[in-house]
């Protein structure tokens, strides 16, 4: 295996191809290399590509570079203010050591069913900026997650764009322990409020199926209604149906179907600005 360390985005994209693999933080890829699941001829290390490391609020959007680590995002007041669900996910993902190394771009590229970064990005309506030799493409994450394979050969994740629409968002995950836990289930919730009305809602679920997804059914049922105790109970009950149909007869289904109600309530309670406390 060869090693190539491009100094800028153009070099990185030009060197990519069928026999190459991009290296971000490496916390997943290093294991895959060791287990022989990834066998690239050339490893293209993105750590020196400064164009992939940015965090700004510009043009009504929060812009997040793909090489930002979970620790960097989790330590950012800007991320907390503009993307609370994502900021919360950054606090509990992996461990301090993993968060210091793992990147948000790598989280998407690896695309584990339990990837902590993806449900928040889905709920926040994130767009993904892709770049390849064919040029740049900006695609909604929800659409990208429907592609097989996720990324075409030679495509690099440049960053994420989260429209700053003033939505409130929250995130909760269920793990077998508090630290170092792979999510058994995660819920990200974003709400556009008008008074006490939930004008528009997005709900994303993680670790219930092959990839995290947005639930249209939950969004439709919850938007245009007053957010009160009944609203939250409906959300908790409807989430059970969504999980049941997504998991079918899998062994974890009976557990996750019931557990999702609690995770949904926690996600609601974590909504930025304490909105979640209105419903207890």
């Amino acid at each position: 295996m060869e090693f190539f360390q491009p100094q800028n985005l153009t070099e990185a994209v030009e060197r990519s191809g069928l026999d190459t693999c991009f290296l971000a933080g490496g916390t997943d890829l290093v294991l895959q290399l060791r287990e022989g699941k990834a066998k690239p001829q050339v490893l293209v290390d993105l750590s020196r590509v400064t164009e992939l490391k940015y965090l700004t609020a510009a043009g009504g959007c929060l812009e997040i570079g793909s090489m930002l680590t979970f620790a960097e995002l989790g330590g950012s007041e800007l991320a907390r203010a503009k993307a609370n669900a994502l900021w919360l996910a950054c606090q509990s993902m992996g461990s301090p050591q993993i968060r210091n190394q793992a990147t948000l771009g790598g989280n998407l590229a690896n695309c584990s069913p339990a990837a902590d970064g993806l449900p928040p990005l889905l709920a926040l309506g994130a767009l993904v900026r892709l770049v390849s030799r064919r040029g740049e493409e900006t695609v909604p994450l929800a659409e990208l997650l429907s592609r097989r394979p996720l990324l075409e050969v030679g495509t690099l994740i440049r960053g994420f764009r989260i429209p700053d629409q003033g939505w409130k968002s929250g995130f909760a995950k269920l793990g077998r322990r508090r630290a170092l836990a792979i999510a058994r289930l995660s819920v990200a919730l974003a709400v556009e409020r008008e008074g006490n009305q939930a004008k528009r809602v997005r709900v994303a679920l993680g670790a219930v199926g092959e990839r995290p997804f947005l639930s249209e059914a939950l969004a439709e049922m919850l938007q245009g209604r007053e957010m009160n105790e009944a609203w939250l109970e409906d959300a908790a009950a409807a989430a059970q149906q969504v999980v049941a149909s997504a998991l079918g007869s899998r062994a974890s289904a009976p557990y996750k179907r019931v557990a999702v109600s609690g995770v949904m309530r926690e996600a609601w309670a974590s909504l930025a600005g304490g909105e979640g406390t209105a419903c207890g």
């Binding site: 295996m1 060869e2 090693f3 360390q5 290296l23 490496g26 916390t27 997943d28 290093v30 294991l31 290399l33 060791r34 490893l43 290390d45 750590s47 620790a71 992996g94 461990s95 301090p96 050591q97 993993i98 210091n100 190394q101 508090r178 630290a179 170092l180």
Partner: protein
Amino acid sequence: MVELELTVNGKACMLKIEPGERLIDVLRQRLGLTGTKEGCGEGECGACTVIMDGRTINSCVVLAIQAHGRDITTIEGVGNRIRPHPVQRAFVEEGAVQCGYCTPGMVLAAKALLDKNPDPSPQEIGAAMSGNLCRCTGYDKILRAVQRAAREVTGT
């Protein structure tokens, strides 16, 4: 083979390695720094923790080449029997070492915390140590040791 240049415990090192070699293997096998332990080998337990540019990482899920140009501190660079670091002394005094396998990683996680935050709350200590598993002590003595080291560092 690729050229790797890095600073380990204050010393500049230059060596030729395979790009796929992990940092833990280079530290243990090429540099002979066997104080860094491999536990799970998949970034779950923190036994292999080292400090890279002031931040803790798991050296079992980082390639050595990713440390190119960077500054690494292993347990050998923290202190020794004659001149232990306050964290090491506190671990001994509080009985926070039993089998000892997790201890190098624990000490480095604690040192990285105290370097940034010399007066951490119990919650901050818990959060900073949450990436290091110990199957012997039940953690109480470890947390007490970190608090004791903090008191010593701040002179309170």
